[in-house]
């Protein structure tokens, strides 16, 4: 889960970069940047969740 979370973080960043490079000054660019940050938020949530699970298994 932790690895997937970090991969999602990187994927979200790449999505943001792709939106900036490929889409001109259009509303779609802002939408894709926000979508990329949404993917990052999902990845961050997964990493936090994996940390909680790891702590639970230690206990």
């Amino acid at each position: 889960m932790r690895l997937i979370g970090f991969l999602l973080l990187v994927a979200g960043w790449i999505l943001v970069l792709a939106a900036v490079v490929l889409l001109g000054a259009s509303p779609a660019r802002a939408a894709f940047v926000l979508a990329g940050i949404g993917v990052e938020a999902l990845g961050l949530a997964l990493v936090f969740r994996s940390h909680l699970v790891l702590r639970g298994s230690r206990d």
Binding site: F6, L9, A25, L34, I37, E40, G43, G56
Partner: protein
């Protein structure tokens, strides 16, 4: 690639910049005292010694190779072409500051600023790893931060890198702007602190079998609050020097930078004090101190480009966010961060970066863009999007990178102290002597029996 021009500094501007840079170590001293005060008494000497070692090591590593990656506006850089646009990924300076005349030129001032501010970034994870982070491992982790993570991101923001060029290349306002280091110092340090807190795990006795956290209060509120005052002075220098060197602020603007920095910190501390007073019946000293530093961290990005009222707003939001973030990390997310480093520096820094996109009004063209921003001279349309790209880079690149580097380091050289070390305290276990030898100031009340 069109060479990016450094700001032209008058003699008075150079002198002011040098004075401001020389104040920066006070910010490090303040953060060191805060980290020490928020830790246990049995680890106090270790915390201060670690702070000294980390600042020393960060300065050395930065001069050996950090500046070679960071560079400065108008200096050699490695560039790749992406969609026909030049992206500067890293500087191409030689190691050991060679080919850099330390003569008061903007590039030499930037190198001096970087050498001192990277120590501040290195101190931030120390707060998250308090009471359990081995000195040797902290030094190794700092070498990675000062030699790679910090300079790389600082090049992107301050060295004419691709983030700074978002305005010129893609019409996103003035590109990513961060005058005083909300991102490159505070958020980079704060996200490294999060990675360290994850890798080290919680202190023994912090979480009970039911998962409920135990309160382990800081051992010296006086150190914490005095640290806040020192940090304030250091931040005035940090923000002023950063704005002059990296955002082209004239030296006269140092007045508004000082006013904005102070207002942001003051509003943040008052907001944190009021919130803790309302929630707990009495204002909480450590959370108020954390609010103060959170306001300072948030003030850095936009200090040169906002009105005082906006600086107040930035501070209020930062000060309100910090206590809730501390609680969220401790109670819901099980991140044991004794110094509140993640809440203060990562959350505060990220908010500062976003706040610039919301509140900043630019007087003209900044030195790190090669063309007028969209919206004409002084126009700033798309600035918020550039700031969002910076935040996405911090979360999507810096956090995974710093976690991976520290995870690998942990495999080679375990970062967490042995169980005995935690029980005895870091002072006795790693240094052989305590900070307060005449006082028995600690018990084992938090240790599982």
């Amino acid at each position: 690639m069109t060479p990016l021009a450094p700001p032209a500094l008058s003699e008075a501007g150079s002198v002011l910049c040098i004075v401001c840079i020389l104040l920066v170590p006070l910010a490090g001293a303040g953060i060191s005292l805060i980290n020490t005060g928020l830790g246990r008494s049995r680890s106090a000497a270790h915390a201060m010694l670690a702070a000294l070692c980390l600042m020393a090591l960060a300065a050395v590593v930065y001069c050996v190779c950090g500046f070679a990656w960071q560079g400065y506006l108008g200096r050699p850089a490695h560039v790749i072409l992406v969609g026909g646009k030049a992206w500067s990924w890293t500087a191409a300076e030689p190691l050991f500051l060679r080919r850099l005349d330390l003569d008061g030129s903007p590039a030499s001032l930037a190198a001096c600023f970087g050498m001192l501010s990277v120590g501040l970034a290195a101190l931030i994870p120390l707060g998250a790893g308090a009471d359990r982070w081995r000195l040797g491992a902290a030094c190794a982790s700092t070498a990675l931060l000062a030699g790679w993570t910090y300079p790389l991101f600082a090049h992107w923001v301050w060295g004419g890198g691709w983030l700074a060029q978002l305005g010129a290349n893609y019409g996103l306002g003035h590109g990513f702007v961060d005058a005083g280091g909300s991102s490159s110092i505070q958020a980079v340090g704060g996200l490294t602190a999060l990675a360290i807190a994850w890798i080290l795990g919680a202190r023994r006795g912090k979480y009970g079998p039911d998962g409920a956290p135990a309160a382990i209060p800081g051992h010296n509120a006086v150190l914490i609050l005095f640290g806040c005052l020192l940090a304030w002075v250091g931040w005035l220098g940090l923000n002023s020097a950063g704005a002059i060197l990296f955002a082209g602020a004239e030296s006269g603007r140092a007045v508004s930078i000082a006013v904005n920095t102070t207002l942001s910190a003051a509003a943040a501390a008052l907001a944190a004090a009021v919130i803790t007073r309302v929630r707990f019946g009495k204002p909480d000293a450590s959370l108020t101190a954390n609010g103060w530093v959170g306001g300072l961290a948030a003030s850095s990005a936009a200090c040169a480009f906002v009105a005082p009222a906006a600086a107040l707003m930035i501070g209020i939001v930062a000060g309100a966010a910090v206590p809730f973030a501390v609680e969220a990390f401790e109670f819901w997310l099980a991140v044991d961060d004794p110094g509140g480093a993640v809440s203060v520096h990562a959350v505060g820094g990220l908010w500062g970066v976003l706040a610039l996109g919301l509140f900043a009004r630019f007087p003209g063209r900044l030195p790190n863009v090669v063309a007028e921003p969209s919206g004409g001279p002084g126009g700033d349309s798309g600035q918020w999007l550039a700031q969002l790209v910076g935040v996405a880079t911090l979360l999507g690149f810096v956090l995974p990178l710093t976690y991976a580097l520290n995870w690998l380091l942990n495999r080679i050289y375990p970062q967490r102290v042995a169980v005995d070390g935690e029980r005895e305290g870091m002072d006795l276990y790693e240094l052989g002597a305590g900070a307060y030898p005449e006082f028995a100031t600690h018990t084992d009340e938090f240790m599982p029996r």
